[in-house]
């Protein structure tokens, strides 16, 4: 911009220029300023547009995952099929597998349809059972094993519908698509429509998606993110317990005690560089060191936490050092001046003043670690079904588990479009956690912000 060329200004010796008249220079300057403002607004608008597009996509794709289609029917738990001996011996009851329960549930469905006068358009009536999820036999069996006295009675069950039926009500599955699908026929959908009309089938909120365990590839309707959430929780405990004390101790030493020389400069440069190392590098390091050399269990949240600790440390060290640096030197002088030792001045005065900054940095580091996927792939926290909640605290640390982002990745990889929907749903849950953590960080900063 050529603000410095003077030829457009009022020439010397001109008649007095009026303040009411804009000179060419002023006009150009104002125009440049207006242009710059327009660029800024355009940039912000673009950013906002992408943000809104992202939110719409996430909510649009993910919200259906929180709802699920259920079939509510009375099931007659016939003694002849489930407990032939009739003595309710738990061991004998357990011998009846899900194959034994399947016909019971199918019969109950057929009976319920007939009771409502819904026609069954199949040559073999039994084929109608595909409306139900493959998991229902197990569900009924678990209920019976937990409470054998139910045998012989007719109990109302809330059973999962199959993912195709569920997708039909969510608009994901169409009748045309079913023509190429071996799992379900269009006739099933007719029955499903009739069941909805009769009040046997309903799409409602599904808490199991949030609290439940993952399921096999063929049963997306059963899958939940709860177990991997617990895996993430245990990893975060490891990260917090290791990264916070190590990071804070390292920063205090580097910032307050270490002499300024080549070695500390080198360490400083390396810490900054570590913060920029791709997370997958930490993953392969963890695989080599923690699993292959130290023989820690594979896929365990303990190992995941260790790897994420390595990754989070630079973030915590950098933010801790920044907040230590922000404490004015006059406070240190004051403490030293009344005869406090170096350590007393740090722990009595500097550290408490830097604490909000340290906590903010730690929470942001944790949030980063919570969303990290790549290193978890390398230490094996994906690719299997995390089907059970860990059994106690030790098991939570060392038994194979998954983590939220790894679970989402796993779902997104699976072929069934029902899993695609669940991946989006998982992202909503993950984002809620991350936003909560960031909001806490912001509130902490606001609450404890100090002025000198």
């Amino acid at each position: 911009m050529s603000d410095f060329t003077a030829d457009n200004g009022p020439a010397k010796g001109d008649a007095k220029s009026s303040l009411f008249h804009e000179t060419t220079r002023t006009k150009r300057r104002n125009a440049a300023e207006a242009r710059f403002k327009a660029y800024g607004i355009a940039a912000i608008a673009t950013g906002l547009f992408f943000l809104v597009a992202l939110l719409v996509a996430i909510l649009g794709n993910g919200l259906p995952a929180f709802k699920q289609t259920f079939v509510t029917i009375p099931v007659e738990l016939t003694e002849a099929k489930l407990d032939k001996s009739g003595n309710r011996n738990p061991e004998e009851l357990a011998k009846v597998s899900t194959f034994g329960y399947k016909p019971v549930v199918t019969d109950a469905l057929i009976a319920a349809l007939k009771a409502e006068g819904i026609e069954i358009p199949f040559a073999k009536e039994k084929d109608v059972e595909d409306i139900l999820s493959a998991s229902v036999a197990a569900q009924v069996r678990d209920t019976v094993l937990a409470n054998p006295d139910l045998i012989g009675e007719t109990v109302e069950f809330r059973l999962l519908a199959s993912s195709r039926v569920d997708g039909y009500f969510k608009g994901r599955v169409t009748r045309d698509a079913l023509a190429r699908d071996k799992n379900l026929d269009a006739e099933h959908l007719d029955v499903a429509d009739a069941m909805v009309a009769a009040g046997l089938m309903k799409t409602t909120f599904n808490a199991d998606f949030i609290f439940g365990a993952d399921a096999s590839e063929s049963r997306p309707e059963q899958a939940g993110i709860g177990v991997s959430m617990v895996g993430s929780l245990f990893m975060m405990i490891v990260v917090l317990a290791l990264a916070l004390p190590i990071g804070v101790a390292a920063s205090i030493y580097l910032e307050e005690f270490a002499p300024q020389n080549k070695w500390t400069d080198l360490i400083e440069v390396n810490i900054s560089n570590l913060a920029a190392v791709p997370s997958i590098v930490f993953g392969i390091l963890g695989l080599a060191v923690f699993i292959q050399i130290a023989h820690l269990p594979q896929s365990a949240p303990l190992v995941g936490g260790l790897v994420l600790t390595l990754m989070t440390l630079p973030t915590i060290i950098i933010s801790t050092r920044a907040s230590l640096k922000a404490v004015p030197p006059s406070i240190r002088d004051a403490a030293l001046g009344v005869g406090a030792s170096k350590m007393q001045s740090v722990f009595h005065h500097v550290l408490p003043l830097a604490m909000p900054g340290i906590l903010t940095g730690t929470i942001i580091g944790l949030a980063q670690a919570l969303g990290e996927t790549a290193p978890l792939l390398l230490i094996g926290m994906v690719g299997f079904i995390a089907s059970n909640m860990p059994d106690g605290i030790a098991s939570g640390f060392i038994d194979p588990n998954s983590a939220m982002p790894a679970q989402i990745y796993e779902w997104a990889k699976r072929a069934d479009p029902a899993y695609y929907e669940r991946a989006w749903g998982g992202i909503i849950i993950l984002l809620v956690f991350l936003m909560t953590m960031n909001i806490i960080a912001v509130l902490l900063r606001r609450r404890f912000e100090r002025r000198w």
């Binding site: 002499p259 300024q260 004015p328 006059s330 406070i331 240190r332 002088d333 004051a334 403490a335 030293l336 001046g337 009344v338 005869g339 406090a340 030792s341 007393q344 009595h348 005065h349 003043l353 100090r450 000198w452």
Partner: protein
Amino acid sequence: MNDMRIVRKDVDMNDTKISAKKVQVFYGETHAIKDVDVEIKDKTVTAFIGPSGCGKSTFLRCLNRMNDTIDICRVEGNILLDGEDIYDKRVDPVQLRAKVGMVFQRPNPFPKSIYDNIAYGPRIHGLAKNKADLDEIVEKALRRGAIWDEVKDRLDAPGTGLSGGQQQRLCIARAVATEPEVLLMDEPCSALDPIATLQVEELIDELRENFSVVIVTHSMQQAARVSQKTAFFHLGNLVEYGDTEQIFTNPHDERTESYITGRIG
């Protein structure tokens, strides 16, 4: 305030409190203090004057080893406090600083309550046996700092909420709370308005009864008002040191005369 009023108070031949011999200070390659010899008397206010960058603050910070916190700073020569070399290997600077307190250029109260500001020093040095003891120490220090009447009703209020002059008197009270023998003041009034300055100067005069006070100041009038001894520093050298009255009325060195008459600096 009568500018250039020379305080005609008896300058007794007090004992020497601090004796510096051939002190050299280096900041990396820079030779900041050259060959300074000075004897600081007990129960006396000694003023260091001189133009900016002449080394007077640097020398002051040598007297309680605050320069130790600067990595590249190196001190040579001897500084004796009551005959003991404070740069001896056996000396712990923390113990030294309990004997030689310091007040800084900008008031720097801790962001804590007024009470805790004063009580911090006595606490870490274990000067109080119990809470009542500590209360007494705090009150005595605040009275000595001439700020008791202003803050006695709000000892729980944060020290940072006081006005600039009050904060500086609080810092002086904090420094005297640990019962030091020497009080170093690095331009204590440069961030204060004239009224607060007057209060602090009166306070310094009172402190003379109990402590040896060394004050660095930019203002020659202030040096003349509060001190009995004056040292003039120029370019890292101690040019002239003597009774304040003599320095201001009959300087021996040409540079001193130029400075106090306003021709240099």
